[in-house]
Amino acid sequence: MSMILLIEQVLNGLQFGVMLFLMAAGLTLIFGVMGLINLAHGSLYMVGAFAAAAVAGWTGSFALALVAALAAAAAAGALIELLVIRRLYDRDHLDQVLATFALILIFSEGTRWLFGSFPLFLDVPAALAGPIMLPGGILYPLYRLVIIGVGLLVAAGVFWLIAKTRIGIQIRAGEADREMIAALGIDISRLYTMVFALGAALAGLAGALVGAIQSVQVGMGEPVLILAFVVIVIGGIGSIKGALVGSILVGLTDTLGGVLLPPLFGTFMQASSATSVGSAVASMSIYILMVGVLLFKPSGLFGGK
């Protein structure tokens, strides 16, 4: 493989990593910081994408579509929190698992009910379509660069919110001892609703942005859910920096694994089985990465405890 291709693949890996962070950002808030196991995160991602596709279809405006995605996902998030999650804070984590599992069913089939069984159309806006030339002669889709930009912005924003603001401190205090922070005069319930809605909005934003270059369909949130959990766990729960580093590690591993492993296996195996075995190992690579990281750092790269 040529050097320039390798560099391009590394760039792809980084790009995919940042995209993963964007998809995981909402979950970082809800799960990483608030400590809530929200399996329905992928559904909120899907809600964002569908809202965007619907509005883009009506109005033809991508900007309006993004607004719709944010609004719809935030509203869905707030609703979930008020109706369901709120009653589960003082319960076992497992109850949250079951409840949000139920929410996945409702959201997925509800969406299909509303929008039908076929994938929707959502495309990148014309202004951002097409590739641009990077230094070094690499043609790179502009839209992907935009995603990197937004992803990094979101990372910085979330980091600032959690680490530097009093709201962030209060949320983390609430995660440590809800009853106590309330007894000190903080309306933690309202705060949690807001943060949950914010996390949902981020998921929706990611759904819309990423949906434009992927397929907007029922069930699109599921792989995202698992990837997002993998990313957060590798980085260490509660750490925004960890989530970003985790995303990039996963992005690089997945991309480079897929690119490099099949030829690598080809050096000592028959060509035909090498592609298949190599690809099989490549599909496992992020899980292998996660196991590796957790064996050496049982609470993730930047996990406190």
Partner: protein
């Protein structure tokens, strides 16, 4: 002459792949409309093999159906077909034709009304060889349907395969693969990525500015999917045994009726469901399902007006039919397919030789 027939349809009606199942069902129901001798029981397999097997048992044991049909996916077919035929029931496949069931695992009671899995790929390879395509880059998910498909293509393709990539099943980001495609000296990308994977790939491929021909089997460019890909799919060549512009009376009626009934364009799955019901009814007119041998013979005749044109069964009960080459075009606002030629006429699968029945 035939009495009543009870048909059990197990298909995917919920979850991600529901669109295909719904089309098969709608096509079937459309063709069977008004036939009082045909009683239909429909069940949702949720795309889970174990559920499909259990539903098979249910339909056979509790509902006492005579004929089963409906399965969309190869892996579900592998589970259901043996279970159904082992219990002495007919199975008519409206989609999915795994090689195992065409060869060694064939059964007198099993009829495939769609295609053997390799058909579109083999036809694609033939067409590519005959139309000046020299260097292809192959891509498919790393699972049997994917690897088998690429093997099918290579079986008939005479040019050079310059790259071959098997991606993770369910992958949604193809930046790395597109970079590999760009770097290769292929003139054509031939790929099979079902459902959302294909949509993602096509959109990203279009945005990457890579300028190469794209080809594939119809599955990634069927009507239900084209709407989601949009203009990015224009110009793509894909092989199919059906297209809405096939010029015969049966097809014209089907397309018109389907649109009138459901308010959308039919897909190839709908066409297959429709043909399945036509085949079944043709046999019902000739034999009583209780007389298995006679009913089997009636089915083997395939005496119905297929929307695909000429249709016959090979000895292994798999179709002999033309496979067309289609191109994605735009008709007004609608992105759709147009036939550009026949890729393989009277196509027949290669596994029949292993079929002993």
């Amino acid at each position: 002459d035939g009495g009543k027939v009870k048909v059990g349809m197990i298909t995917t009606l919920s979850g991600g792949g529901a669109g295909l199942g719904i089309d098969v069902r709608d096509g079937f129901v459309l063709a069977a409309k008004g036939n009082e001798n045909l009683e239909l029981v429909i069940e949702d397999d949720q795309r889970k093999p174990d559920v499909a097997v259990q539903l098979t048992d249910k339909l056979i044991q509790s509902e006492k159906v005579d004929v089963l049909t409906g399965i969309i996916w190869s892996n579900l077919a592998m589970a259901v077909v043996p279970a159904a035929t082992a219990q002495g029931k007919f199975y008519l496949s409206p989609n999915a034709g795994p090689s195992a069931l065409a060869g060694k695992g064939c059964s007198p009671l099993y009829f495939n009304v769609a295609w053997q899995n390799d058909a579109f790929y083999e036809a694609g390879g033939l067409w590519a060889s005959e139309n000046g395509i020299e260097k292809v880059f192959l891509m498919a998910p790393n699972y049997p349907a994917g690897t088998d498909g690429m093997t099918g293509f290579k079986r008939t393709f005479k040019g050079e395969v310059v790259g071959e990539v098997y991606t993770k099943l369910g992958q949604t980001d193809y930046a790395a693969e597109i970079a590999q495609i760009r770097a290769s000296d292929a003139d054509t990308v031939y790929f099979f990525l079902p459902g959302g994977m294909g949509i993602s790939f096509m959109k990203q491929f279009a945005g990457s500015g890579v300028d190469k021909n794209v080809m594939g089997p119809a599955f990634s460019f069927d009507q239900g999917i084209l709407g989601a890909i949009g203009d990015a799919a224009l110009g793509v060549k894909n092989t199919s045994h059906w297209s809405k512009d096939i010029d015969n009376a049966a097809n014209k009626k089907f397309v018109a009726d389907f649109q009138a009934e459901y308010g959308r364009l039919p897909s190839l799955y709908a066409a297959q469901g429709y043909d399945t019901a036509l085949l079944l009814q043709s046999a019902m007119g000739k034999a009583d399902v209780a007389d298995a041998a006679a009913f089997q013979a009636a089915l083997e005749e395939a005496d119905f007006a297929s929307v695909r044109g000429d249709f016959a069964f090979a000895p292994n009960h798999h179709p002999i039919q033309d496979i067309y080459m289609r191109e994605v075009i735009k008709e007004g606002d609608v992105v759709t397919n147009k036939i550009v030629g026949v890729a393989s006429s009277d196509h027949q699968d290669v596994y029949g030789a292993d079929c002993k029945m």
